[in-house]
Amino acid sequence: MPEASVQQENKELVKPPGSVDIAIGFLSYNNAAAIGPTIRAARESLASQFPDKRSVVILADGGAKDRAPEHALAAQGNQDDFVQIAYTVYPAQKISPGSYGVPGKANGIQAIFDTAIGMNAGACAIVDSTVDIPAHDSIETLVRPVVTGEIDFVTPLYLRHKYDATILNGLVYPLTRALYGKRVHQPIGGDFALSSKLVNYLTKQPRTDGDTTSSDADAWITVQALCGGFRFAEASLGPRVLAQHEPAPETSAILAQVLGSIFAEMNRTAAFWQRIRGSQAIPAYGPGFEALAEPAPVDPSPMMQSFRLGYQNLQDIYRLILPPATLMELKRMCLHPVETFHFDDTLWARVVYDFALAWRTRVMDRDHLMGALTPLYLGWVASWVRAVRDDGPKEAESRIEALCAAYETQKGYLISRWRWPDRFNP
C-alpha cells in the first residue's frame, strides 16, 4: 500500500474542516457526467436526514482526464463541506484487462480513510460512482446503522431479479457465507459504510502488493471486517442503477477478477475460516421495496453450448484440477438436453472448492485456471436459468439458500483437501 505517496498528495489538497460526524467518500474515474448530480443528491439527503450531524463529501479522483472534479465542484453550493483528494493510479492498474470498477480502488479507499481519520469522522461511507448511481436516499440508509452506533460495517443489498448477479448468487455469496459464517449477500457490492473503529482497524492491517482491481479492495475490506469480529448489517437500497460506462468485460475476465480476489483472501485467512461452522444471518436495514417486474426469459442454450465445448476441449486441464468422480458427473451432464440439464448444488460447490485448491497450489497459471472455470460456470448458469424460469422471487431465494446449504455441507471436503492436498490429489 503506497501510504507515503497517498498521504503526501492528500496534504496538498485537503482543506482542514475540523471534526465531522459523517464522511462520504466518492471514487471517480472517467465519470464526469454522473458525479456532479450524485454528489449533490447525497449532500441533500444527508442534510435532511441528519440535520444535527456535520457531514462532508470527499471526492477521490484517480486523475482521469474527464474533468470530473470540476463537475463535482461546480455542483456544490457550500464548498466548506466538500473535500477533494487525489490518489495514485499505477499504469498497471489502468491497463488491467477486463477491469471492473475504478482502477486503483485500494489507493482511493486508503486516501478516503486517511482523510476521514484526519477529520475524526464517526462514520465513513464509500461509494464507487463508476459502478452504480445510488438512489436519492440510499446513502442515508447505508450510513444510518453506523451513525447510531449499532453496526460497524454495512454492505449494500440491492434488489436484483432472479437472473441477475449470477456470479454473486452462485459463487461469491455462498462461498463467503460458508467460509466466514456470516450471510452477507453482496460482500463485494462496491458501496459500504464503516464505523471509525473499523476504519482505524483497516488502516493498521498489512496488505500485500499486487492488488490491482476494485474487487480486490472490496474483498479485502469485507474479509478483514469478517475476521476482525465486527458487527455486520445489510442496507436495503432498492434496485441497482448502473452508471454509464464502457460495456461490461467478458465473462471470463469478470470471473477471474472477482473469484481471484476471493481466492486470494481465502488463502490469506485460511487459519480463520477453517474454524468456522455454519453461518449466521445479519440484520437488514432500510425500507422494503416492491418486487421487480418479471424479467424477460433467458435462453440457456448458448451457455450450455459453452459448457459442452469447454468440457470437450479442456478435459486435459480439468483432469489436473477435478477428481475422477466429478469429471464423470460432468461427462454425464453433457449428454443431457437443455430440457433436463441440471447442475447439482453439491457438485457445483465441490467444483468451486476444487478450483480454490488449484488456485492455492498453483496447479497452473492462475489466469488459465479462471479461464477454464468459465465454461463450468456457464453450465451452472444454464442450469440455474432453467430451474428458476417459473419461479417467483421467493422461490428463487429459497434455491439460493439451498445452494448455500450445499456449500456449507461440503466445507468439510474443502478443509480436508486444504490440509492434505497430496493425499486427495486427483
Binding site: 437472473y163 461490461a248 469478470i254 472477482v258 426469459p297 453450448q305 497459471d365 488459465h368 448458469v381
Partner: protein, 234 residues
C-alpha cells in the same frame, strides 16, 4: 653375413616393439583401472540419483508439470530412470576421457579442449529447448482456453498449431546453436515455418471463415441478448 644382418634387424625390431610395449602398457593399465573405477562410481551415482528422485516422486511431478511426453522417451516410461541413466553415461564418458589422457595426453588434451569449447553451445541449446517447451505449452493452453471461451469450435486445432509453431522455432534455434546442419537447417526451418503459417492462414481465412464469422456473430448476439435480457453476471 646375410643371416647376421637379418638377425640384427630382427633383434632391433623386437627391441623396438618391446620398448613400445613397455611404454604403452602402463598407460593401458592406467586406462583400464580408471575405467573400472569410473564404472563403479557411475553405478553408485546412478543408484543414488534413482533413489533420490523416487523419494521426491519425480515422475509424478514431471507428469503434473505437463512434461508427460518425456515418459514416451524414457526407458520404462520413467523419467527417473532416464535421469539416472543419463548421469551414468555422463560419468562413463568423463572416465573414458580421463582414461584416454593416460594413453596419449596430447590427443586427449586436444579432444578435451574441443569438447569444452562445444559444451556451452550444448548447454545453451538445452536451455533453449526447455524454455521453448515451456513457452509452447503456455501459449497453447492460453490459445485453447481463450478460443473455447470465445466458442470457437476449432479451438484445439488453433492450440496445436501455435504449439508446433513455437516448437519448430525452438528446435531450429537449438540446432543453430549446436552448429548442426548450417544453412540447410535454416532454409528448412524457413520453409516449414512459412508453410505452417500459410496453412493456418488458409485454414482460418478460407476454410474456417464461416466458423469464425459465426463465432463472432454468436459473441455479438450474446452481448446484445444479455443487454436485452437484463442479464448481468455481476
Amino acid at each position: 653375413m646375410m643371416r647376421d644382418q637379418v638377425n640384427e634387424v630382427l633383434r632391433q625390431t623386437m627391441a623396438r616393439i618391446a620398448t613400445a610395449t613397455e611404454d604403452f602398457l602402463p598407460g593401458l593399465l592406467a586406462f583400464l583401472m580408471i575405467l573400472v573405477l569410473t564404472i563403479i562410481v557411475a553405478f553408485i551415482l546412478r543408484a543414488f540419483i534413482r533413489r533420490s528422485l523416487q523419494r521426491i516422486e519425480f515422475d509424478h511431478h514431471i507428469e503434473r508439470w505437463g512434461f508427460s511426453a518425456l515418459n514416451d522417451w524414457s526407458p520404462a516410461r520413467s523419467p527417473t530412470r532416464l535421469m539416472a541413466q543419463t548421469s551414468f553415461l555422463g560419468i562413463l564418458l568423463i572416465g573414458v576421457l580421463i582414461g584416454v589422457s593416460a594413453l596419449d595426453s596430447r590427443l586427449t588434451s586436444q579432444l578435451i579442449v574441443e569438447l569444452f569449447d562445444y559444451l556451452p553451445h550444448v548447454v545453451a541449446a538445452v536451455v533453449i529447448l526447455i524454455v521453448g517447451s515451456v513457452v509452447s505449452r503456455f501459449l497453447a493452453r492460453s490459445v485453447l482456453i481463450g478460443a473455447v471461451n470465445m466458442q470457437i469450435q476449432s479451438a484445439r486445432l488453433l492450440s496445436i498449431g501455435v504449439k508446433w509453431l513455437v516448437i519448430v522455432l525452438t528446435v531450429a534455434m537449438a540446432l543453430n546453436h549446436l552448429r548442426i546442419g548450417g544453412t540447410v537447417v535454416l532454409i528448412s526451418f524457413a520453409i516449414m515455418f512459412g508453410g505452417i503459417v500459410l496453412a493456418l492462414a488458409l485454414a482460418v481465412g478460407l476454410g474456417s471463415k464461416d466458423m469464425i464469422r459465426q463465432s463472432w456473430a454468436r459473441q455479438s448476439d450474446r452481448m446484445e441478448r444479455e443487454a436485452e435480457e437484463q442479464f448481468h453476471h455481476l
